[in-house]
Amino acid sequence: MALGPASLEIATLALAFLVLAWDLIEPARESAGRRGGLYALAAAGLVLILLGSERVPLPGSLTDAFVLDPFALLVKRILLATALLAVAGLHAHTRARGIAWRSGEALVLLLFATVGGMALVSARELLTLFVAFELLSLPLYVLTALEKERRTAAEGAIKMFLFGSVSSAVLLLGIALLAAGTGTTFWMRVAAWPHDPIVRLGAALVVTGFGFKLAAFPFSLWAPDTYQSAPAPVVAFLSVAPKAAAVAALFRLVFEMFGPAGIPVGSWIAVLAGGTMLVGNLLALRQRDLKRLLAYSGIAQIGYVLAALAAGTRLAAGLSLFYFVAYLAANAGAFLVVAAMEAAGEEPTLHGARNLVRRSPVLASSMLVFLLSLGGIPFALGFWGKMYVFLAAADAGLWWLVTIGALLAVVALFYYLTIARWMFIVRDEGPALTVPAPLAAAIIACAIVAGAGGLIPQRFAEPALRAVDAMTNSSSR
């Protein structure tokens, strides 16, 4: 039993332990320079893993519980990239807030969560799925409260924790019910799916559990509060990685379990998608806190992906992957901009973004790119992403979803444009903002992907579509 298929997880774990070791043996806890080394180590390690991910043999599997196919690999790369961005953000954030001595723990927890997400997309067995699900949650509860001196830190974390715990319980119950119907947690081993209500109920409970991770309405109510209270770099990770992993895992479930079992999960998810788009977009309209606004916007964005998930086709899976690349760049980028604002001592609100174009042209223009991408405006990458998921939904005949999605995307522009207005049109004075170099580099990288990437969408779409082809080929028995 070669460990090759899990090599990325193992490497990331190894990196985590390296960071931990460095953190433990480092003598001077207050030294900023050394902390920089810690972050450099984490970043370099993540970059190396990302580069190494090119060489992983495909496809492979570890027992029957764990598979590495191109689909999983692509999502893992998304997760690793998200983690890398969060590392850059945390560097600036911990220094600015004077909590640099927590850097080691923060990075380790971040890497653990990354491992959880990576395992989640490879899981082909319910127990593995569940543990990976937990591993993606638990470190994040802690990370959201990283800045624990903040009044609201515990509040946001507790809210997430309660939702997460209840969802975990529900997910586990769903797994139990599925097992009650089939007698195994290895869904690939099920030869003939029974048409029991218990199996369908189990599927419903599993979807409910994943609803928390996706922050899909009505399981999304924790997200705005948590995002608002959590450090922005953590939110950059929190708003992308769990969602990407959860969507990927759900796609796998749809293809390999719900599909063969004849459970119409798609139609349930369509309902969730409609509600999620609607509520996310409406609630985002009147927000003034940027993190909160982006939280709702993220909920809305997930609604669009759920439309593709509801379609449940191979095309939809590929295009969703594409979507997540765009979403990663834009959403994580936007939260990093907020992180930069916070790190520079500016409040993360609309008012704080006033006249940003004068105060920090880099932040303002990057943020504009992110907003355009999130808003689905050509030629940003997000434009293609949004069009693609709608196309996937249309392809599956979900016309009502496409229609309300397209219309709500217009409502969304209201708040995206409102941010843009504060940054570019409002002329109130404010201090100039300086951005630490690593964070600036991360933001600019995101902006380049989200902006210039839109000029070459095929570069992103082709691998995504090919990855899906490979996955369904390997799994079609």
Binding site: L62, T63, D64, A65, E125, L127, E134, L138, I198, L201
Partner: protein, 159 residues
């Protein structure tokens, strides 16, 4: 005999659970929880799994109870005047969830169980065979939990 044990244990379990969610005193609630966990352990015995029963009693009940009592001491029980907030909608939702679960469970065939979960060795083999990956992940998870709890709970000098 087994049925009688099952029913009485079930009543005990649910009674203790009701006490957990209704007890005015948190300490009492904690001990009620311990009771319900122990009742569950007994049920596990009935379900032919002494291993689980042992783990339940030793690790779970003991660990959880210790943690909770410790937390109550540190945080202060600080009992509110009223235990409940809006118990009626909460109860109705809980009932609805129960109804949803029960309606599916009701369709299951009612037969005696197969049992045969006694072998600890088989469990160990499964753990290192089919379930190696989750087991490894679980170890990371536990590490993360320890780590996280420490990070959150330790008191630091403000810098």
């Amino acid at each position: 005999m087994r049925d009688a044990a099952f029913w009485s244990l079930s009543v005990l379990l649910l009674g203790a659970a009701a006490a957990v969610v209704t007890a005015r005193s948190l300490i009492r609630a904690a001990f009620a929880l311990a009771g319900s966990l122990l009742a569950t352990a007994a049920l596990y015995l009935l379900l032919t799994s002494p291993l689980l029963a042992a783990v339940q009693v030793l690790l779970y009940t003991g660990g959880v109870l210790t943690l909770v009592v410790f937390a109550l001491v540190v945080a202060g029980a600080n009992e509110p005047a009223a235990r409940f907030r809006k118990p009626l909608p909460a109860g109705m939702l809980a009932l609805a969830v129960f109804a949803a679960l029960a309606s599916a469970i009701g369709t299951l065939p009612a037969g005696p169980g197969v049992g045969g979960l006694e072998s600890g060795r088989d469990v160990g083999l499964a753990l290192f065979g089919d379930y190696l990956v989750p087991f490894e992940l679980l170890s990371v998870l536990l590490l993360a939990a320890v780590f996280g709890a420490l990070l959150l709970a330790r008191r630091e000098r403000a810098s």
